[in-house]
């Protein structure tokens, strides 16, 4: 498989949890899930899967990993329908790292990996895998004596078993110290360079920005936007902002700097007297930037800082969900699917 070819493609994938009550088992209610997800991930790329709590990230990863038996839609691995591939062949392509596996007991990482190696019918050595994740010196440490970071590394080692073509990582950076996070990013990049396709779900948006090639944003079970970072920025209308700071004359909030340029914020700033953020659709030309400088300096202002600021993943997530930290607070959305694209889908469908 050449780099850049689709390693994984999802078309109309839907899965909803069935809620049952012990007292009324005949009454079946549909719970949260994912709805009509389309996604294409190129071979050898790292896709960041982001979304608020309860948006369906883990459900999507589990569906791809085949943990939810029946789902709607088509999942293709390396161009082949997973249903036609057969269970074992399909699973051979997949390495899953679930979120925060709380390994416990008196057994050791060596024993755990040995068991999984037997399950896969492989002849690998656990030592090599543990070396990759930096655990070779803790091979025989009982699980109960391991820190969360070590457990996280062991979970990653489990996902790397059998050299899978598609790696699904659910919150992999949890519990890792900063040095380990950097090493982890490097490891993922190395794997991607060798042709492994990586899908990473994480809440750590700042970390994600450092290593993903493309993005997919989920909200209430729906895929809101996906593609390269610039494509997602365009879809969501998140464009780079021009930040200007200075002293002396301050541009009025209603000030105009040219066609389509909107002054978003004008605020006092420590060290300088003011700081403004300018926003426009499309890219900034150098002429536009010069015009703004001239306009401010011509009015008696003195520029101290002129900087292009790219939208962060947080900005994109806010744009996708229509929610910001200020508006949503700590509130988690309810578990009903609110189809963003397909209005009219009934709850019991």
């Amino acid at each position: 498989m050449q780099k850049g070819e689709p390693a994984l493609s999802l078309s109309g994938v839907a899965y909803r949890y069935q809620l049952t009550n012990w007292l009324t088992p005949w009454k079946k209610k549909w719970g949260a899930g994912i709805h009509d997800v389309d996604l294409m991930v190129e071979s050898g790329s790292i896709l960041g899967l982001i979304g608020p709590n309860g948006s369906g990230k883990t459900t999507l990863l589990h569906t791809i990993a085949g943990l939810h038996g029946r789902h709607k839609g088509t999942i293709k691995f390396l161009g082949q329908d997973r249903r036609k591939l057969g269970w074992e062949s399909a699973q051979n392509h997949i390495g899953l790292m679930p979120e925060r596996v709380n390994w416990s007991g008196t057994t050791t990482p060596h024993e755990i990996l040995n068991r999984l190696i037997t399950m896969r019918g492989l002849h690998e050595s656990p030592k090599n895998l543990l070396k990759i994740v930096g655990m070779s010196k803790r091979m025989y440490t009982p699980l109960d004596n391991m820190s969360q970071g070590m457990k996280q590394r062991l979970t990653l080692a489990c996902a790397l078993l059998g050299n899978p073509k598609i790696l699904l990582l659910d919150e992999p950076l949890n519990g890792l110290d900063p040095v380990a996070q950097a090493a982890f990013r490097k490891l993922l990049r190395d794997l991607a360079n060798r042709g492994t396709t990586v899908i990473v779900s994480s809440h750590n948006l700042n970390e994600m920005e450092l290593f993903v090639d493309s993005l997919a944003i989920l909200h209430r079970g729906q895929m809101v936007a996906s593609g390269s970072i610039s494509e997602v920025q365009n879809i969501l209308g998140c464009q780079p902002q021009l930040v200007v700071a200075g002293n002396g004359w301050c541009p009025p909030s209603s000030g105009s700097f040219g066609r389509g340029i909107v002054l978003e914020k004008c605020e006092p700033w420590p060290g300088e007297e003011w700081r403004i953020s300018l926003h426009k659709n499309g890219s900034w030309s150098s002429k536009q930037r010069h015009n703004i400088l001239d306009s401010i300096e011509g009015s008696g202002g003195k520029i101290c800082l002129l900087q292009m600021v790219q939208p962060t993943l947080e900005d994109m997530l806010s744009a996708a969900t229509g929610e910001t930290a200020d508006t949503i607070g700590l509130e988690v959305g309810d578990d009903s699917l609110i189809p963003l694209k397909k209005l009219g889908v009934r709850e019991d469908e």
Partner: protein, 280 residues
């Protein structure tokens, strides 16, 4: 992977699973139970000076083994509960189940390896305890049970451990948290081990069988039928069917063996079916 390789793989996985159980602290509790009940029981019951309040004359080593089976019923089945009550639910809670279910292995094979692993983890120490018990019986009585009797006893014991392993893992796969795992695991064991006599008496009274005399032939026949619905009852009936003709149950042997087959088939199939649709 062909069928033979798959079976070998299942056996290897079962052994892995059993080894995990052998190393667990709970195994210490199980070994203590087995030594206390099976080994101690064999020594005490085969002592010619001891008297047991039973109508059974226990003159042969097999009859001693039959009495020891009461201790097996108590300790080995409790051992299955100890090791298996959270066999699936704990893995689900810790997240290990998601890793196992995402491996390229047939779910039936994985379920069988869990089942066989738990079975081996209890059956091996039980058999060793029984073997020590038989040595003690020989010391006390001067003779061993015949090879047939010894094999018959072990097959029946293996079966009841298998039935409990199926039931425990099925219950554990249904339980969503540790509390329900404990409740289901212990609850099922108590129902069959401690409460079954009460259920039998209650049912007998309801359908008009005289329950004032628990040794009456009418009640005995009724309780044998009800015992077919309990793994402990079937185990006892199986062992009784190998006693001398006076002490054998009134039920036909094939009824007992059919019940034994059904107890092997139904919980086992239910567990495999449940495992196939299991979600992490």
């Amino acid at each position: 992977m062909n069928r033979f390789d798959r079976e070998i793989n299942i056996l290897r996985l079962s052994w892995h699973e059993a080894r995990l159980h052998f190393r667990s602290p709970r195994m210490m509790a199980l070994l203590a139970l087995l030594l206390l009940f099976i080994v101690g029981g064999s020594w005490g019951l085969s002592d010619s000076s001891s008297t047991v309040t039973s109508q059974l004359n226990y003159d042969t080593p097999y009859e001693i083994l039959f009495l020891v089976s009461l201790f097996v019923l108590f300790s080995s089945t409790l051992g299955v509960v100890l090791l298996g009550f959270d066999g699936i639910s704990k893995k689900r809670l810790t997240g290990e189940l998601a890793i196992e279910l995402s491996q390229p292995i047939n779910r039936n094979d994985l379920a069988r390896s869990q089942l066989q692993g738990l079975w081996l983890a209890v059956f091996i120490p039980t058999t060793i305890s029984c073997a020590i018990g038989v040595q003690l019986i020989e010391i006390q009585m001067g003779k061993f049970p015949s090879l047939y009797d010894w094999l018959f006893f072990n097959i029946a014991t293996g079966l009841i451990i298998f039935w409990y392993a199926c039931i425990q893992l099925l219950a554990s796969s249904i339980a969503k948290d540790l509390g329900s795992s404990v409740t289901l695991g212990i609850g099922i064991w108590m129902a069959f081990t401690l409460v079954w006599l009460l259920v039998t008496v209650l049912l007998a009274a309801l359908i008009g069988v005289d329950v004032t005399d628990l040794n009456s032939p009418q009640y005995n026949k009724f309780s044998e039928i009800i015992d077919l619905f309990s793994p402990n009852g079937v185990y006892q009936l199986l062992l009784e069917s190998n006693l001398n003709p006076d002490a054998q149950p009134e039920l036909q042997k094939y009824f007992i063996w059919i019940a034994a087959l059904l107890w092997s088939f139904i919980p086992g199939t239910l567990f495999l079916r449940r495992f196939r649709t299991l979600r992490p």
